[in-house]
């Protein structure tokens, strides 16, 4: 059996296991807190991927994985479209101002602090190796950018935080989810925009900063998104309410968006998200059905991406990588609860609620961004950056768990009716993923 067949069969078996794991059959198991956290972060899938990849048992070679780039791009395009479709004007209009403030503070602080950290670490790391031709600033931009963008937002999962059913807890949960959703949009946008000037010099193969090219790429991305959005909206209208026709349109759009991003070496996540935003805001009766349809495959897509990310990690990150990952985790632990408190300040706060440390946990989008970086420019440096992002994510997942475990006996929010919870949750849009 060839490497490619082995790769796809492995993916297949794991994807089927993911389907079984997400079915009602395993509902009881998923209710367990530990298992819920593992599933929400995709850590089981990442571990399975790492075990099978070149850095683990070596069952799958790096080159084989890279040959599956179009598949990965399509997965990323799916995620991007899914995020973009959430960005509807009318939904944004319902969001509380405090949520916008929270997201703005988070984006600014995370991008600056973590981006700077990434820049410094990358500069030291690259100069410690001293490879010729890597003195330019362009080599530092992508590591800094991925660290900065990956730090934006947090995971939207709140079930494992064991929150009470009080109104305040429900509001806090909405802020966690809303902040996470806005963070995902911001992270993709930031990464998509700032990565544009970085290009490969066709002659030397080195990374260079190309500002003119950046402008052209941005204009292209916008033009593509608008054209695809209009085309997509027309196709959706034509498809009507037929699920089969909607599926054909959706798959066609995703493949086209991801394929074009691959053709032009731009971010599939960003291009697809822009197309999703255009489709979402052009409206249309089939849109809700379309959205529901996309979200059905959300879990499998996330597991697939997590496995692929696990397969592409490079554990030889050395002291620089390890240091960077730990610094990110520690900074998250310090900064994120502070950002959350500052962002939502006027609200009454249930003291000691584990939801305050929920933002410490890294967003799953970070993994998608890291994977997109490796696929668009598959160098060992970028694989190491993906590893750093995943390691930082795992550490920032474990730290709040340990903290909440130690505090769990003290958390006593007053119980309240489920109606309150529902009304609070309806106050803000819940993002997906």
């Amino acid at each position: 059996m060839g490497q490619t067949e082995r790769f796809f069969l492995t993916i297949l078996v794991l994807a089927i296991l993911a389907l079984v794991a997400s079915s009602p059959m395993t509902y009881r198991l998923r209710r367990s807190r530990m298992f819920g956290m593992l599933l929400s972060g995709g850590w089981l899938a990442i571990a399975a991927g790492a075990l099978l990849g070149e850095s683990g048992l070596g069952a799958l070679e790096r080159e084989t994985l890279l040959r599956s780039s179009p598949l990965i791009m399509i997965c990323l395009g799916w995620i991007g479209l899914m995020v973009g479709l959430q960005a509807r004007r009318e939904l944004f209009a319902t969001l509380p101002r405090a949520l916008w403030r929270l997201a703005t503070i988070d984006v600014l602080v995370s991008a600056v602090v973590f981006g700077f950290l990434g820049w410094v670490a990358a500069a030291l790391w690259i100069s410690s190796v001293g490879a010729p031709g890597t003195e330019g600033a362009a080599w530092r931009v992508m590591p800094a950018l991925i660290i900065g963008a990956a730090a934006i937002g947090w995971t939207m999962e709140t079930r494992s935080m064991r929150i009470s059913r009080s109104l305040d807890s429900a509001r806090l949960a909405v802020f966690v989810r809303g902040g996470g959703a806005l963070g995902a949009i911001a992270a993709i946008t930031l990464f998509g925009l700032i990565s544009k000037p970085v290009a490969r010099d066709p002659a030397s193969g080195q990374l260079v900063l190309d500002w003119f090219g950046a402008g052209a790429k941005l204009a292209m991305s916008l033009a593509m998104a608008v054209t695809l959005g209009i085309l997509g909206r027309y196709a959706l209208r034509l498809a009507g309410r037929s699920r089969a026709e909607l599926l054909a349109v959706f798959l066609g759009l995703v493949a086209l968006v991801a394929g074009i991003a691959a053709d032009l070496a731009t971010s599939a996540l960003f291009t697809a998200m822009l197309a999703g935003v255009v489709i979402a805001n052009l409206g249309g009766p089939a849109l809700r059905m379309f959205e529901r349809f996309i979200l059905r495959a959300e879990h499998v897509m996330a597991v697939l991406l997590a496995m692929l990310a696990g397969m592409l990690i490079d554990p030889a990150i050395g002291i620089w990588g390890l240091g960077l990952a730990m610094s990110i985790a520690i900074l998250r632990l310090i900064l994120k609860p502070w950002i959350f408190r500052v962002g939502i300040r006027p609200l009454s706060e249930p003291v000691g609620s584990p939801l305050f440390i929920a933002p410490v946990r890294q967003a799953p989008m970070a993994m998608a961004l890291g994977l997109g970086l490796v696929i668009s420019d598959p160098t060992p440096l970028h694989q190491k950056m993906l590893t750093v992002v995943l390691l930082a994510g795992l550490t920032s997942e474990v730290l709040p768990l340990l903290l909440t475990l130690s505090k769990s006996s003290g958390v006593t929010d007053a119980p309240s009716g489920s109606q309150d919870v529902a009304s609070a949750q309806s106050g803000a849009g819940e993002g997906s993923s």
Binding site: A15, S23, S69, S204, A248, G252, A255, G259, R296
Partner: protein, 494 residues
Amino acid sequence: MMRLARIFLAVGALLIFVHLVRALAAMSGAGEGQFTDALGDVASELPPGLMGSGTSLGLLLLGSWLFGRLFKAAGLPKISGYLVFGLIVGPSALAMVSREHVLHLGLVNDLAIALIALTAGGEMHLSFLRKHYRTVLAFTASVTTLVLAGVTIAMFFIMRPMELVDFESVTPMIIVALMVALVAASGSPAVVIAVITEMKARGPLTQTALSVIVCLDLVLIVLFALVISIGGPILRDLDAEKGATTPAAVHLDAGADVSHTAAAEAAEGDPERPVAIADDGAPVRQSLPVYIAIHLGGSLVVGAVVGLFLAWYVHAVNAHLDIFVVLTCFGIALLSGALGLEPLIVALVAGMLMQNVWPESSEPLFGSVEQLSLPVYCVFFALAGAKVDLGVLSDLWMAAALLVGLRALMIAIGSHAGRKISGLEDPAGKWVWTCFVSQAGVSLALASVIQRSFPGQPFADNIFNLTLAMIAIHELVGPILFKLGLTRAGETNV
């Protein structure tokens, strides 16, 4: 009219859009190539066309879907629209989908074959087969025999005057003529299933057409394996006398990439001649009966196992059925390629088992399959259209037209004989011939086996091109005729 104009505009916009993107990508040199690294000198190179295959997939899917709507509005089958769109954007016309892209999308093609065969299996009711097996056998035998006999004889006499072959002895002439006849006799279960699904057809013609076309292709796959395994070494010996080095083997796999690079040298005087090539390029050394037993028997066994697995999933898990069906079909395509099995048979058996053993639990599963069928048909038939070589068609149109006419005549006579033997009543009996005209995946796979089994031999390329031209015509005409047949038989429900 406005609606049609709008669809035309949308297709035009899509084509211009993708063309612009490709031009920009070519200008910037993005998407392909080597990568240097800040931490070392590692370079990676992706295969040519790989990164562009995503755009091609999207273009084929969206464009063929829109074209299908156009054709539907014009009263033609949607799959003809998919095929025509593939033809337009394919390598021989606008070349927006390159040959490399078609190759990289091979796995999608295999997935489509598995899904189509699963659907076909789901439509094969044992109760119907038990009741009507004589009808199925009568049509299969009469059409196969007559097309094989007619085309073999005709090819035997026209191949040399048309300079398709340069053999001097009779035996290789007969072998090559028989190979062409086998390709000519094959039909397209995929087209039949697609048109039935599109027209929501139910009735005796629908059931008979489906059963006969599946049975016919199974018989032809076995016959083709026999002919190429027995006749292949004779043709290669002839070539060896001329000093060429050739490979020896065949791996019959509808739509699969058949690689043949070795083993010719071992064929001479070996009682266990290599009858197939494994994925690693090594010859599979088995006697022909053993090979066929493993190839077909293995497909049956694996198909049964897949059927059991499907049943277990529906019973025990029963969630995300559509995604599960896609994954299973993907698995069938991969496993069949890896184990040298026939994906068509594997999926067919799985579908039949589900439909006939667990009819109630198979209902939601086939419901999901039906929903998935549209995008799958779009890609599958658009890819089939993209494989059509218009240059070859224009070069060989006379020979191809002759072959098409002869085949049509033999199908008509064979169907008439089958109708008389089986006593199938009108209107189904009158229109059953329309199901035999279409050709697509299986025929293309058989034709490519001829070409790849004898690389470097001019006759192989000539025969491949001729059969390709014939298949191209049948691809376009077949669905229209079958739709007409179903409509005239009063079995459509749209």
